[in-house]
Point group: C2
Chain length 190, copies 2
């Protein structure tokens, strides 16, 4: 074997090594490894989802006194390959993890008007698409998803006891779109 | 030359071909190619920035009657490598392109409160970091940036005539942070 092809093979391995970390960020099919312990307990993934996933959309929720601006900003993220699949067939694939940051809002009077933006992290809501009916006896799983809320910066211990009581009531208006507020996620329609 | 190394070389080219599009999304240093004609005219980049860039943050702007919710949602994106540089030294590098989607907001009364989310695209604001003082005679350039607003879905013809009159007044409250509302971009502090 001549020297040239060996160098080519080494360059090839280097190219593959560069390609792998770049593509990992886009994986969603390992969502059960990323966001569960394999037995149905749910966690916030230990990854830089804000820096590597796709932001689907932001919801601003008014204060009870709306003249004081927004109370919270809710920002949802999904892996890029799950977004690509959704654009093709209108469904998130099995294993898709969605993470919603719930930020307390800060508000200022600016030239454009009363403006509110993300401040302290109040908590995170994690959903995992489950088309196979896994964990049927676990009250965090059902209606095609795993559901769990985590307060503040907590990533392991959910405060959710029963998704039907704790999570679903707020998602009823989105039942027709698989319990997701896709009407606020313009990137899915791009 | 044996057959094996040739196959290796072909596999290598394939690996590089896969690697290039994945890494392109993260580039910011070619921002002048992406967002200008090379002579100072600014355009909205022809790329999937919502699907491949980092969402820095969202600002919700109240209606004049705030009990009707938000008027607009402003959502800003930057390339991942520019975000990484900012996290290291607190500055966006020369050539960084920032894109702000200005969405008209839709508002609904939901269980969590009066909630507003992105609807129709009203326009886009593009900024390009310019540490080298390029295009000094062009009224779209100055104070370390190129500045241009594009109405609706328009990507080429800006309505901005003079950044000092058209853009800067709204950015004065962010002067201390290089004219950017980084206080609403929590990902930069992660």
């Amino acid at each position: 074997m001549s020297q040239m092809p060996q160098n080519g093979a080494i360059a090839c391995l280097a190219a593959i090594a560069v390609a792998i970390p770049l593509s990992t960020a886009a994986q969603s099919t390992d969502g059960f490894a990323l966001a569960t312990d394999g037995n149905g307990a749910i966690n916030v993934p230990e990854i830089d989802y804000r820096g590597t996933w796709v932001q689907l959309g932001a919801f601003s929720v008014s204060r009870d006194k709306p003249q004081r601006g927004a109370k919270e900003l809710h920002v949802t993220y999904a892996p890029a390959d799950a977004v690509a699949t959704y654009k093709l067939n209108g469904r998130f694939p099995d294993g898709t993890v969605l993470i919603k940051d719930v930020f307390a809002a800060n508000t200022e009077q600016l030239s454009t008007g009363l403006a509110s933006y993300a401040g302290k992290l109040n908590g995170r809501f994690v959903m995992i698409k489950n088309t196979e009916g896994r964990f049927a006896d676990n009250p965090l799983w059902g209606d095609g998803w795993g559901w769990a809320f985590f307060e503040g910066a907590e990533m392991r211990k959910t405060v959710t006891k029963d998704y039907k009581k704790d999570c679903m009531p707020c998602h009823v208006p989105a039942k027709a779109t698989d319990w997701l507020y896709v009407r606020g996620y313009p990137v899915l329609a791009d």
